[in-house]
């Protein structure tokens, strides 16, 4: 019913597509910043500020080995980027196109196709740069010589003659206009200056890198090595000889000596080759940290890990309990995890992460991944690497809904279908679901599937090339085992084949081959070759594309599942509501939360964008952190499931007319009547401001709403869960029992829960009644037998409708309610001895005997009044028309009989009567504040039941005013056609005919003229109604003022401040009244002259040629008999044609 993709569409409407802020657009077309960040694996604080084409030259003098000719490898063309704290160079296309391989020449296609730091180049933190010199070059305008801190320890820096010291120096020739080059250099200068302070931080971070120890100078020969994981204590997995660990270490030592290490490392082709061969044990952690970019996270906040642990020390959480359960089953075969040391490290890293990322917390499989990391790196390193994994490398894998995992399984399945159609078909036929087998591969990054030594080899490549590696390896596994898998016909057989394959990865792939070289190739090597050669077509961009394609389906599956689960777990109160109602509530609840979050985010982005635009250059930086754009969507793991008061207001405004504000404070665009609106409203870009309520109506903020919120918020946490909302609504709407609703309403106003509502409370109740009824009453109302006088002069000749509208009569009922409450509140009052009381009691008695209910049901006159019921509203007009001022009538171009009364000061006879009632109230001794009074629930019941209309209000109207399922779809805006005074209400005769023809809701759009007329007329009528409501409120205000006057007199010694406040309140109230009056009367009326003319001419058109008009209208709408017949004819026609075609 409500799909989140519609939210996405709404969001798109708000967004300027060129900004790249757009929701789905941000996936399809990620912002430059996020591409930049993922290419260089930089933290989200970094934006590409300047970029320039450049050529990187690594002088041969830097080479440690003479003799070998490696000149060719020393020059690279690419792009140089400057961000806030980094200078990065890459030969991969720097336009950050994801489809690098297709759109750029192959020279620029790095190994990762845009997915990571695959190209040649470097990522220097600015604080790692010691010096930048401008060289004089003949070929280029600008050449910079950059020397880094590499190889220069602090002492050595002072003593630069040391022989073993080799400064790392590279040359960059900038190719660009003089201006561009200068701009870049200026930026670089500023950046260098700004980052000087970070040198100490960097030293601290690099001190934990094993490479520093590996290449340590002679004089530090005996220094203790930094922590390179549990492997240093418990041995690294695998046989070091077989792994040729020493040889690898020597190769790396050489490479790092020549090309810089950790922060100052330069990536050349050898770097990628060395990674493919497998990393040496002691350097593995550091290289993972570097290629995944987690080292830059650590550089940003080197103490975050330790700080987090100490900050939350001793605290408990659900995540911690879950972590504890899994500690003993995380790589239990590795000796390190049979010891307290290993278990302790694992516990600390998982716990710290669960604190810094509470949205993810802890997810099974993280234990295995972190355990694996800890074999090769320190706790802090593993902590940041886990961050990089969850946020960037495998986003959504470990989230509370695990949507990333499910999505990638879908992607994997579609890749298998595409690349191995025969196997796929076999799987489908045997009813084997591939993902039950492949899900653990992805979720645990193969760590739990392959023998550890091989899983780590996969990880080596994964960290540098990104998630596509997981897919390539998975596809290769299936390809290699294809034959055997085709023989497997159930889960068991399938699993068994793969299990024995994984167990034999170290065996020869070609044991029977004559060729010893071939025989020496292991199955794992074969796997790597197949994965990266045969499936080289699987790129970051193809994965991204497939993810996009499957995303909506996966998310809505999760959301449907979550919804079913949530609805089943709503507790016993939920049984009072129907499944449809619960479903609708669920959608509304999360819809509002989601939309509010989106709006919030977008508003912030917009502000940030504007701020940035004003800061000239940096405008390029576009948006930051668009990973967050979709936060809040249920399928992604909602970031909140709590509704605060504002959200609650918005939630109610989606289904209750009375919850919509009368006087929106934020300017709204002219409501477009032709635009279909969901209950959740929609984003719309207004030119000046982004409304905090989106395009939905602004919710009212009435005391009643606050009370309702507090009442539903049973544990006073200032936030509602879905369960609380359901329980709250169930009490109003669920039982459909008048006594329950009356009790509920009473309790709502019984502040201290002592069963008594005082003077103040009585006034609040009546204000609430007026508030709730100000847009008209809904539900089943019995128009006859009202306690008020019936005028009975219906204008429709022979109509059985009373002359006074139900809504008007209700105002009378409310003022009678106040009067009676005050009468009965004071038991000593003589009035209570007269006949009113026995009557009421008699009535109450009859209800208790349930006779009344029978009467009610049997009453043949009962009829429904709702949005579409026009009869009562006609009568409202009829009542008002005689008093219309001739002046107003003269202004109108036509002389329609149902003129409207815009004059806010006008008092109908009934209003006058109410004022006099108020005066009589004044005489009531109960109003004397010195006379403490209250009403109890039985009294309240009695008073309510004394008035038939009030009774009906509680019986039907109030519960019915919550449109849980259907919402206020077409009634979204108070000023438009479908508020209480629909245009149909104008109509006498012809008007009503129009309405009948158009039907409710659906038809309106079909006849724009009619709808426009409706809107105009509705506005006029509203003015009248506002007056009436205002009058009613005035009665209450009047009573209150008198009371307060009396109160003031009695409390002359009261604190001045209190009095001040009281009178302020009063002023505000009066101001509001004045405002409303103005708006309702003159204000709203201004535009109506033209509107009315439009409406009347339309109506003339429609009434003038009844049949014709109806045909026209019906055809427009595409509904109705004539239209249908026409369509039918057409359908028959095509049917024949088709038939002929088939025959021929």
């Amino acid at each position: 019913m409500l799909s989140f993709s519609s939210f996405v569409q709404k969001a798109q409407q708000l967004l300027d597509p060129t900004q790249g802020l757009n929701l789905s657009e941000s996936d399809r077309n990620p912002s430059k910043a996020s591409l930049f960040q993922s290419q260089f694996r930089l933290p989200s604080s970094q934006h590409p500020l300047y970029e320039i084409t450049a050529e990187l030259t690594i002088p041969p003098a830097n080479a440690t080995q003479g003799g070998r000719d490696r000149d060719l490898g020393y020059q690279y063309a690419g792009k140089l980027h400057l961000s806030e704290a980094y200078l990065s160079f890459s030969t991969t296309p720097s336009s950050f196109l994801q489809s690098a391989s297709t759109s750029t020449s192959s020279i620029f296609t790095g190994q990762t196709h845009g997915g990571g730091p695959g190209g040649n180049g470097f990522t220097f933190p600015l604080c790692a740069i010691r010096r930048v010199e401008r060289l004089h070059s003949q070929n280029f305008q600008f050449a910079l010589s950059i020397s880094t801190w590499n190889g220069i320890s602090q002492d050595a820096a002072k003593d630069r003659d040391k022989k073993d010291l080799k400064e790392q120096r590279v040359t960059l020739q900038l190719a660009g206009s003089r201006q561009a080059c200068e701009r870049f250099c200026d930026g670089l200068k500023k950046g260098l200056r700004a980052n000087v302070g970070n040198v100490a931080k960097m030293k601290k971070v690099t001190a934990e890198c094993y490479s520093e120890y590996l290449l340590r100078p002679e004089d530090k020969k005996n220094a203790a090595p930094p922590d390179a994981g549990l492997g240093m204590m418990f041995k690294y997995p695998g046989d070091p000889k077989k792994l040729r660990d020493r040889a690898k270490m020597r190769l790396w030592a050489e490479y790092l000596r020549d090309n810089g290490r950790n922060m100052t490392l330069i990536r050349q082709p050898t770097f990628h080759k060395l990674i493919r061969v497998g990393l040496p044990n002691r350097l593995r952690g550091e290289i993972w940290e570097l290629t995944s970019g987690s080292i830059y996270l650590r550089l940003e906040n080197p103490t975050l890990y330790a700080d987090t642990l100490s900050k939350f020390s001793g605290q408990e959480s659900l995540a911690i309990d879950e972590i504890e359960k899994d500690l003993n089953r995380s790589l239990p075969e590795y000796p390190g995890f049979q010891s307290e040391e290993g278990i302790g490290r694992l516990r600390r890293v998982l716990t710290a992460y669960s604190w810094v990322n509470a949205d993810v917390g802890y997810c099974q499989a993280m234990n295995i991944v972190v355990a694996a990391l800890l074999i090769y790196m320190s706790e802090a390193q593993a902590f940041f690497l886990l961050s990089a994994l969850c946020d960037r490398l495998v986003p959504g894998y470990y989230s509370t809904t695990m949507y990333g995992t499910l999505l990638d399984q879908k992607v994997f399945e579609s890749l298998v279908e595409k690349t191995m159609p025969i196997l796929w078909e076999h799987l489908v036929k045997s009813d084997v679901q591939l993902s039950v087998v492949s899900l653990p591969w992805f979720l645990s990054l193969y760590i739990n599937s392959m023998p550890l030594v091989f899983a780590f080899r996969v990880l080596d490549v994964f960290f540098v090339e990104g998630p596509k590696v997981l897919f390539q390896v998975g596809l290769a596994i299936l390809r290699i085992n294809g034959e055997e898998l085709l023989d497997a016909t159930d889960d068991g057989a399938f699993i068994s084949v793969l299990k024995s394959y994984f167990a034999s990865l170290d065996e020869s792939a070609h044991p029977k081959s004559e060729n010893p070289k071939l025989r020496a190739v292991t199955k794992f090597q074969e796997l790597m070759v197949v994965a990266f050669k045969e499936f080289s077509g699987i790129t970051h961009s193809s994965i991204t594309e497939l993810r996009l394609k499957n995303k909506d389906a996966v998310l809505s599956n999760i959301e449907n599942f979550a919804k079913r689960t949530a609805i089943r777990n709503l507790g016993p109160d939920s049984k009072l509501l129907s499944t449809d109602e619960l479903g609708a509530l669920y959608d509304r609840f999360y819809g509002v939360l989601y939309e509010r979050q989106q709006r919030d985010h977008i508003i912030k982005q917009e502000q940030a964008r504007r701020a940035r635009t004003s800061r000239s250059r940096i405008a390029e930086a576009a948006s930051e952190g668009d990973h967050g754009v979709e936060k809040g969507r249920v399928g992604l793991g909602p970031s909140t499931s709590l509704m605060d008061y504002d959200a609650f207001r918005e939630f109610l405004a989606g289904m209750c007319k009375w919850a919509i504000s009368d006087a929106p404070s934020t300017p709204r665009r002219e409501a477009s009547a032709d635009k279909e609106k969901g209950f959740y409203g929609s984003f719309r870009r207004s030119d000046a401001t982004l409304s905090p309520w989106g395009a939905g109506p602004e919710p009212a903020d009435h005391e009643f709403l606050q009370r309702l919120f507090q009442k539903w918020d049973t544990d006073s946490s200032s936030a509602l869960t879905l369960q609380k909302v359901v329980s709250g609504l169930a009490r109003i709407k669920g039982k459909r029992d008048i006594m329950g609703t009356i009790t509920y309403f009473f309790e709502l106003h019984d502040n201290d829960g002592d069963g008594k509502v005082d003077r103040e409370g009585i006034l609040r109740m009546s204000e609430a009644l007026l508030f709730l009824s100000r847009r008209g009453l809904e539900g089943t109302l019995n128009p006859t037998n009202s306690s008020l006088t019936l005028t009975g002069d219906g204008t429709n000749g022979g109509s059985d409708v009373p002359g006074q509208s139900v809504n008007e009569r209700f105002l009378g009922s409310v003022s009678a309610f106040i009067r009676r409450c005050f009468e009965y509140a004071d038991p000593d009052h003589p009035k209570n001895q007269d006949n009113a009381m026995p009557k009421l009691q008699a009535k109450l008695g009859s209800i208790q005997l349930e006779e009344h209910e029978g009467d009610e049901l049997a009453n043949p006159d009962a009829f429904a009044i709702g949005d579409d019921d026009d009869e009562d509203e006609d009568d409202l007009l009829a009542m008002d028309s005689p008093t219309a001022s001739p002046k107003t009538a003269a202004q109108k171009p036509d002389t329609q009989p149902p003129t409207l009364q815009p004059n806010s000061t006008h008092l109908s006879p009934d209003d006058r009567r109410r004022v006099s009632k108020a005066q009589s109230v004044k005489a009531n001794a109960a109003l004397d504040p010195s006379n403490p009074l209250h009403i109890t629930l039985p009294t309240f019941r009695m008073v309510v039941l004394a008035d038939e209309l009030l009774e009906q209000f509680f019986e039907s109207s109030f519960p019915a005013s919550f449109h849980i399922i259907e919402g206020l779809a077409s009634a979204a805006t108070p000023k438009s056609a479908s508020s209480l005074t629909t245009f149909s209400s104008i109509g006498i005769g012809a008007g009503r005919a129009v309405n009948a023809e158009l039907g409710a809701g659906a038809g309106r759009e079909g006849a724009p003229g009619g709808a426009g007329a409706g809107a105009g007329a509705g506005r006029g009528l509203r003015g009248v109604l506002d007056n009436i409501v205002t009058d009613g409120m005035r009665v209450a205000a009047e009573v209150r003022r008198r009371m307060e006057e009396a109160q003031r007199e009695l409390e002359k010694n009261a604190v001045a401040g209190q009095q001040q406040r009281a009178s302020n309140d009063e002023e505000e109230e009066e101001d509001e009244e004045g405002f409303r009056g103005g708006e309702g009367g003159g204000g709203a009326y201004k535009g109506d002259a033209e509107r009315r003319s439009v409406r009347s001419s339309d109506r003339d058109l429609l009434t003038g040629a009844d049949a014709e008009a109806s045909d026209g209208a019906v055809t427009d709408v595409g509904e109705g008999e004539v239209g249908r017949n026409g369509e039918l004819g057409a359908a028959e026609g095509t049917g024949k044609v088709v038939g002929v075609e088939f025959d021929g």
Partner: protein
């Protein structure tokens, strides 16, 4: 559990275990497959896969068991496992009322989303923690906190009534003592309709059936020796 000599018809049945975390799903499976009770040392990612045969007088049923992971968030992966299951064990903990609510949720979910003919058994586990004659047994020390009293929070009556309403098989078990564990699986095996067995797997061609047979033989070799091993693929 060795194969009987007679060439009884044999077919495999996919069974999924569902229920709140820590109700004893893995323990029940371990008891059934291995007749053992111990802390689970196997890391479970998504779901663990185990197989076990069940000999009926007229046929042999090979259960392919998917033991789903305990963590709440893995619930959204559950459809993957119950999608084409022919049987389900929905487990709750007799001493934990919320676990029955969760179990009811899973029953509703299965009835709505799983294959129409799925056989569902509702199982109340940890009977050894109650005072019931039948379930009490093993060492009493684990009864611990509820030493004097009965830790049972969900009456047999309540669960049984619910199971009858929903048409479920119903058992109270103890994975710890082994009480009623095999009975659950046997009852399920008996409840699987003959027709569902024939059409359950593959294209139904005779050729495919024979291949399944072969496969089973292959499988049983390594599997019987280390049947407790869960899926590590």
């Amino acid at each position: 559990m060795a194969d009987s000599n007679a060439p009884k018809p044999s077919s495999s049945v996919k069974l999924v275990l569902l229920g709140e975390a820590a109700v004893g799903k893995s323990s029940l499976v371990l008891r059934f497959v291995n007749n053992d009770f111990q802390e689970n040392k196997e890391p479970t990612i998504g779901a663990a896969f185990l197989t076990q045969k069940c000999n009926l007088p007229t046929r042999t049923i090979k259960f392919e068991i998917w033991d789903t992971a305990g963590q709440e968030r893995f619930a959204s992966l559950a459809p993957m496992y119950y999608r084409n299951a022919q049987a389900a064990l929905v487990v709750y903990d007799l001493t934990k009322p919320t676990s029955l609510i969760k179990a009811k949720h899973w029953v509703a979910e299965l009835q709505r989303q799983a294959s129409p003919g799925i056989v569902i058994a509702l199982v109340g586990n940890k009977l050894d923690l109650t005072n019931d004659e039948a379930g009490a047994g093993g060492d009493a020390e684990d009864v611990g906190a509820e030493e004097s009293g009965d830790a049972r929070k969900i009456s047999t009556e309540e669960a049984k009534t619910y199971a009858e309403e929903e048409g479920l098989l119903f058992f109270e078990t103890s994975a710890k003592t082994g009480y009623h564990v095999t009975e659950v699986f046997t009852a399920i095996a008996n409840a699987i309709p003959e027709t569902s067995l024939k059409t359950a797997r593959g294209p139904g061609a005779a050729h495919a059936a024979s291949r399944t047979e072969e496969q089973r033989v292959n499988l049983n070799g390594p599997r019987d020796s280390n049947a407790k091993e869960t899926c590590v693929c």
